[in-house]
Symmetry: C2
């Protein structure tokens, strides 16, 4: 009998394998001459936000340590793709938003990236499988099924271990 432990570990291993394989396929594209995938990840997250967000919020979306993210944002700021503004409500915090250039770079890379991702996934998974994958992964990530606002006010993340 496959215990819950074993089943969960097999599922995790499969997810890791799918992630690594697809990531390699996507990274092999010629999309990443201007910016790296990690930089794109930051630009993309910023592009999805209506209001400037904090670094700590950004940190929740990115698999990087806080210092690494801080310096990554620093580089993007120096390159004129991201703008830093002080937070009126909190003196410790920094608000980040895309510049016009940053949005343009994100859009251009995003178009190619979306194409190669779609190519990689639709070649192997059917539409129902894609839907199921999305639903399960969102649940695993601890998000509501509705992909709505990105406002940081509502603490809708159960921060359990």
């Amino acid at each position: 009998m496959a215990s819950g432990r074993t089943l969960a570990n097999e599922a995790w291993e499969a997810l890791l394998s799918a992630h690594a394989t697809t990531m390699k396929r996507v990274a092999a594209q010629d999309t990443w001459t201007e910016i790296s995938i990690r930089e794109y990840d930051v630009l993309y997250t910023l592009a999805r936000c209506d209001e400037p967000i904090r670094i700590s919020e950004l940190h929740r979306h990115v698999l990087l340590s806080q210092p690494a993210l801080s310096r990554l944002v620093d580089r993007l700021t120096r390159r004129g793709l991201v703008e830093r503004q002080p937070d009126a409500a909190d003196g410790r915090s920094v608000r980040l938003s895309l510049t016009t250039d940053g949005r343009a770079v994100q859009r251009q890379a995003g178009r190619r990236h979306a194409r190669s991702v779609a190519r990689a996934l639709t070649a192997r998974l059917s539409r129902p499988e894609l839907s199921a994958l999305e639903a399960i992964c969102l649940k695993l990530a601890g998000q509501a099924p509705a992909p709505s606002a990105t406002t940081p006010a509502a603490p809708r993340r159960p921060a359990d271990d």
Copy 2:
């Protein structure tokens, strides 16, 4: 309304989110004092192999550049966890296997790791969801021929690619 492109991209974003979130939860455990997660990944892959494997084969399982993997193996060798042997059939190649110490370290870290992974996944996903996730991810990784969502735990071999 959701085109195949959009659906695929949403699924990929969900997978990335699930990966990052779960990875952070797992990385926050105190499992990684002896070895890092990436080092464990290598030890685990070696532990699953009956015969010594090449670095290039290892490289297919790990999301690292070839030079980075080469040096990671170098460190593990210097620490006495991995053994390098020349390949009789191919003079360019190197065969890798775990030492007794390496196997012990892998087992100890693996036990804790498996527990925390199981905790993270079973807290959020049901058994059918775990099965479906595994099946879809294996298919996405290019390893599973079965299209059914309710795949029984067949004795799957560590096939290459």
